[in-house]
């Protein structure tokens, strides 16, 4: 069975055209792979490029060099050079993403926000809502909020909606961008539990966790991003 995610020799820099075209190298020669059922955590100080790597793997940032090979169905696809349409299909079926912040959509209830990724994959709305309810109650979001649009929720509440949305699908690869940042201890435990279940289900997880306890609890392996510092290569 192919490895779900293989990143090899990826480099990324930003060219700031508005500032006389200066080039800001971010990372270079990024290489790692994640096996099914494994949770790898990107480590290193802030500014090292953890977030950029996660965003490249999601197709949100462009890749300058290298390959990001994703097992998409029974195909191996290089996400770094894939067409936008292919990236969208990979996001729908293969790579899930739990971001730090929820981009709220006005007037859509929390339940439907959570259930949407399932509906997008052809699941019935009722079933999506059922699964969404399960997750939201596990994450201790008061039931009276479920039918409301999350725009007015507190940061912690929004994040739990976001986590539920990220965990509802059975994507074989899941990216976690500090999903526990503004959660209390009780809900952090729930997320740790959810991650454990994903691992058991054979999902390959790649995450950023600033919270040492959570990192400790979920990480099978730490990938030190400072190894990929762009300066090292240039030096």
């Amino acid at each position: 069975m192919a490895t779900p995610l293989v990143v090899s020799e990826v480099a990324k820099s930003f060219t700031m055209h508005l500032r006389d075209g200066i080039r800001l190298p971010v990372v270079a020669d990024v290489s790692f792979s994640i096996k099914a059922g494994e949770c790898a955590v990107l480590g290193g100080p802030s500014g090292a490029g953890k977030s950029s790597i996660l965003k490249m793997v999601y197709g949100n940032y462009a890749v300058d060099q290298g390959q990001i090979i994703v097992k998409h169905g029974d195909q191996l696809i290089d996400l770094a050079s894939a067409s936008p349409r292919t990236v969208l299909q990979i996001r729908r079926d293969t790579i899930g993403y739990v971001s730090q912040f929820l981009r709220t959509v006005p007037r859509v209830s929390a339940l439907d926000v959570v259930g949407e990724p399932l509906v997008a994959r052809g699941e019935k709305r009722e079933i999506a809502r059922e699964r969404a309810s399960d997750l939201l109650s596990r994450l201790n979001l008061p039931e009276r909020l479920w039918s409301l649009p999350p725009a007015t929720f507190s940061g912690g509440e929004q994040q739990r909606v976001n986590i539920a949305r990220g965990f509802i699908t059975d994507h074989p690869v899941l990216l976690l961008d500090e999903p526990t940042a503004s959660l209390d201890a009780r809900n952090r435990e729930v997320v740790i539990g959810l991650i454990g279940e994903k691992k058991k289900a054979g999902v390959a997880l790649l995450g950023i966790f600033h919270d040492a306890d959570v990192r400790e609890a979920v990480a099978d392996r730490i990938i030190d991003v400072t190894d990929f510092a762009a300066g090292k290569l240039a030096a």
């Binding site: 930003f14 060219t15 700031m16 055209h17 508005l18 075209g21 965003k55 197709g59 949100n60 940032y61 462009a62 936008p84 349409r85 990236v87 969208l88 299909q89 959509v105 006005p106 007037r107 859509v108 997008a120």
Partner: protein, 259 residues
């Protein structure tokens, strides 16, 4: 929703006004259910491009082919005017920035929605009216307003009516020219939300011309940035907005006021 064949194929499309460039060398493919945002400032050629694609304007060179409902591919600029007009009122929609350009202001909301049905030969008043009620509901206009003229509607309602009028024949492709352009911010949000829902539920493909990056972010999966008639950057909407590469896109993105 995703099929293996695109709906529209555009190749090296150019439109010149004399020696002045309207748009130049634009190529892309659009798949069913996909929303493409074309962004750029006034004069960037985005509206010229939209008018060429919707055959309201003939390009100077280049081709655009469309996969018809019967799966045949047709070159849009070689179709007869009768066929093009038929396409425009059945399988296509066009949402104008100013609703008055897309509505008949002197006939009732119901007739505005029903016109396309009557144009394709529906001759049952009861059925036409029932469809009108249904579509007004989907764009959140009450049934009690069905006999009112759009003149009596607010800007936001007019725009929603224009959308219903376009969608009643279940088009597969909708062109939108600054659909939220002249509206108040709160009204814009509601309309965007409605459009987003409709596009997803109906699996519509859409080409949305806008100068508003928030509109592009909310509605589209893919984006094309235009400047001086040429495409300067293209890609996934969130990629273009979060990691803009072309100098002009960086300028556009950095010019957004943060609230």
């Amino acid at each position: 929703m995703m099929t293996d064949e695109p709906l529209l194929r555009v190749s090296a499309l150019s439109k010149f006004y004399g020696s002045r460039i309207g748009c130049e060398d634009v190529s892309f493919e659009l798949w069913p259910g996909e929303v493409l945002a074309v962004v750029g400032e006034s004069g960037s050629g985005k509206t010229t491009l939209l008018n060429c694609l919707s055959t309201r304007l003939l390009p100077t060179s280049g081709t655009a082919s469309y996969r018809m409902r019967d799966e045949t591919w047709r070159d849009l600029y070689r179709m007869s005017e009768a066929e093009r007009r038929f396409l425009m009122r059945t399988d296509w929609g066009f949402v104008h920035q100013n609703p008055a350009d897309g509505l008949r202001m002197t006939v009732s909301a119901g007739a505005n929605v029903g016109e396309r049905l009557m144009a394709v030969g529906d001759r049952h008043y009861g059925n036409i009216r029932a469809s009108a009620v249904d579509w007004l509901g989907r764009v959140e206009i009450g049934e009690d307003r069905i006999d009112d003229e759009p003149r009596a509607f607010s800007g936001g309602m007019r725009q929603r009516l224009q959308i219903a009028r376009n969608l009643v024949t279940s088009p597969r492709l909708v062109f939108m020219d600054e659909p939220t352009g002249g509206l108040d911010v709160s009204v814009q949000a509601r309309l965007l939300d409605l459009l987003r829902g409709l596009v997803t539920d109906l699996g519509l493909a859409a080409i949305v011309v806008t100068h508003d990056l928030a509109v592009a972010r909310l509605l589209s999966q893919r984006m094309m940035v235009m400047k001086d008639g040429r495409v300067v950057e293209t890609g996934l909407t969130d990629r273009v907005l979060d990691d803009p590469r072309a100098p002009y896109t960086q300028l556009l993105v950095s010019s957004i006021l943060q609230v």
